[in-house]
């Protein structure tokens, strides 16, 4: 078994046991020409996956950028891995960001670098060159997303789905404590989307990494809430016990700059909120 894949029974939050949440938003607000987020609050416990849903333009991607410190909020406090990032200087944020993985909507791979250099980018920053150890870790990360054969290719030579998988490999190579996914299946066909969701579920169930996932696809959200990764079969399978088992996956729904729902998939299905009912239909 590779070091990237501990047995399921060892599933633990990757961070050391801490009472504090991996991420906490407290009355966070931000606006540009008009208010986008109007004082949202939520927390992401260690080892949990939160799926952020909502219509286009409701500020889902903005939440991820705020969590990463790429944007500063106009109001409120954001705490990530125990550190308040709201007032943190950009120089100090760089160290914190190394503990967080991010998968961008359009992959954001460096187009002038090969797949190997892209995946190894963060590690090469530390050593200054591609060592044998880094090469081995790149192969391990690419094996996780089943793209070992693409090591020497450039991003332009890959399909959209392959680029997303490389972006996931790049995000997980440093074994981050938190991973942020920005519409990882956006614009992909259903089969490729399932492959991406399977990888995210694998990351959740094998490593227990805390993650915040933005998606507009209900199917992806409910697949994540109803499937787990079976390491013996090496694939994602539906939860056999009728969904009783806690998959550490919760839903958040944004509307008009506010969180209008927070809970499990079952809670969402039971919701009587007319907007949520319409969203689900």
């Amino acid at each position: 078994m590779s070091s990237l894949a501990p047995p399921a029974e060892q599933r633990q939050p990757t961070a050391t046991s801490r009472a504090d949440a991996a991420m906490r938003f407290e009355k966070v607000g931000i606006g540009f020409d008009h208010p986008v987020l109007g004082g949202i609050s939520f927390q992401l416990p260690h080892g949990e996956t939160k799926i952020l849903m909502g219509e286009a333009g409701t500020g889902k991607t903005l939440v991820l950028k705020l969590a990463l410190g790429l944007l500063k909020p106009d109001a409120g406090r954001i705490t990530v891995l125990g550190e308040e990032i709201t007032q943190m200087r950009e120089e100090d944020l760089f160290a914190l960001r190394r503990k967080i993985g991010m998968v961008f909507q359009e992959s954001a791979l460096f187009d002038s670098l090969t797949v190997e250099e892209n995946v190894a980018y963060r590690l090469m920053e530390e050593t200054g060159r591609l060592t044998d150890e880094i090469h081995a870790r790149v192969l391990e990360a690419l094996r996780f997303v089943e793209l070992e054969h693409t090591v020497d290719l450039f991003p332009s030579e890959l399909s959209g789905g392959m680029r997303r998988r490389v972006a996931i490999a790049r995000a997980i190579i440093t074994r981050p404590e938190v991973i942020l996914y920005d519409s990882p299946t956006g614009g992909l066909d259903p089969v490729t989307s399932d492959t991406i969701i399977e990888l995210i579920v694998k990351q959740r169930d094998v490593y227990g990494t805390s993650s915040l996932l933005v998606t507009s696809r209900l199917q992806d959200a409910f697949t994540m809430a109803s499937h787990c990764f079976d390491q013996k079969q090496n694939k994602m399978v539906p939860v056999a016990d009728g969904g009783v088992r806690d998959l550490h996956t919760r839903f958040l729904m944004l509307r008009d700059g506010q969180i209008i729902f927070e809970g499990t998939a079952a809670d969402m299905l039971r919701s009587n909120d007319p907007y949520i009912r319409e969203y689900l239909s």
Binding site: F94, A95, M102, F110, Y121, R122
Partner: protein
């Protein structure tokens, strides 16, 4: 509702100057911090320096040649044709060598930097870099600034030499001047202040070219159209700033060296 607001325009301009100043300042202070990207700096030096060599040689040579050609008729009227070397030398070393090199490199490299970084910006590669804990000002801006400053210095020297050679070719072949006379007057005309001025300016111009190119690239928005706009603005701003700063540097150095 007004079509445009003067307050908003003023705010945008002040913000742009502030952002540029911060980026330009950081690009220099990064030199003293870690990490340092030597490989990236060498790569940029090759691209900016070696890559610009052909255009710098061509413009330098023909500028020197046309300078000799244009001034010869005037000098001949006063019976001072022998001073052609001196005139070409002073004009090239103090002014035309550094300025034309700066303008040529600005056209080639400011646009290149703005389009490269602009493309990275609109495809979220800059955000990805920041998200991975890498400072784009250290990784992308500082290597370009250092490489431009160093390479402009050497490119200006080459331009001066080639310009003098161009002047010599015209003086020797068309004006019938003695080679020894041309080179002697060209050499003896130069004082320390002239050489200092000629070597000092390209370093400033290198800083302007790279910092402007990077600033416009990093602030590009609006997709491919935005990248195109940033590229054009970078070349225009760098060229204008080179000419404006040339005036002030010249005035300052003339004061220092008491011309």
């Amino acid at each position: 509702m007004p079509i445009f607001s003067l307050t908003e325009i003023a705010k945008e301009q002040v913000e742009a100057v502030q952002d540029y100043s911060l980026l330009a300042g950081r690009s220099l202070t990064n030199i003293f911090g870690h990490p340092r990207y030597f490989a990236d700096t060498l790569l940029q030096a090759d691209s900016i320096g070696v890559g610009s060599l052909p255009i710098v040689i061509l413009t330098g040579f023909f500028t020197g040649a046309v300078l000799a050609l244009q001034t010869s008729s005037t000098l001949q009227q006063f019976g001072s044709l022998s001073l052609t070397g001196k005139l070409v030398s002073l004009s090239m070393v103090r002014e035309l060598g550094p300025v034309l090199t700066g303008l040529m490199v600005a056209g080639r490299n400011s646009s290149g930097m703005a389009s490269e970084l602009g493309s990275m910006k609109v495809t979220e590669q800059i955000d990805a870099m920041r998200a991975m804990g890498v400072d784009p000002s250290k990784k992308l801006v500082t290597p370009r600034v250092i490489a431009s400053m160093v390479m402009l210095f050497f490119l200006a020297i080459i331009s001066n030499l080639v310009g003098l050679t161009g002047g010599f070719v015209i003086s020797y072949l068309l004006l019938g001047l003695d080679p020894n006379q041309y080179w002697t007057t060209a050499y003896q005309a130069l004082r320390f202040g002239d050489v200092f001025m000629g070597l000092c300016k390209p370093v400033f111009f290198g800083f302007i070219i790279s910092s402007i190119g990077c600033y416009y690239g990093l602030s590009a928005k609006g997709g491919t159209q935005g990248v195109g706009r940033a590229t054009t603005q970078a070349v225009v701003a760098a060229s204008v700033l080179i000419l404006v700063s040339d005036f002030f540097i010249t005035r300052l150095l003339m004061g220092i060296f008491q011309y």
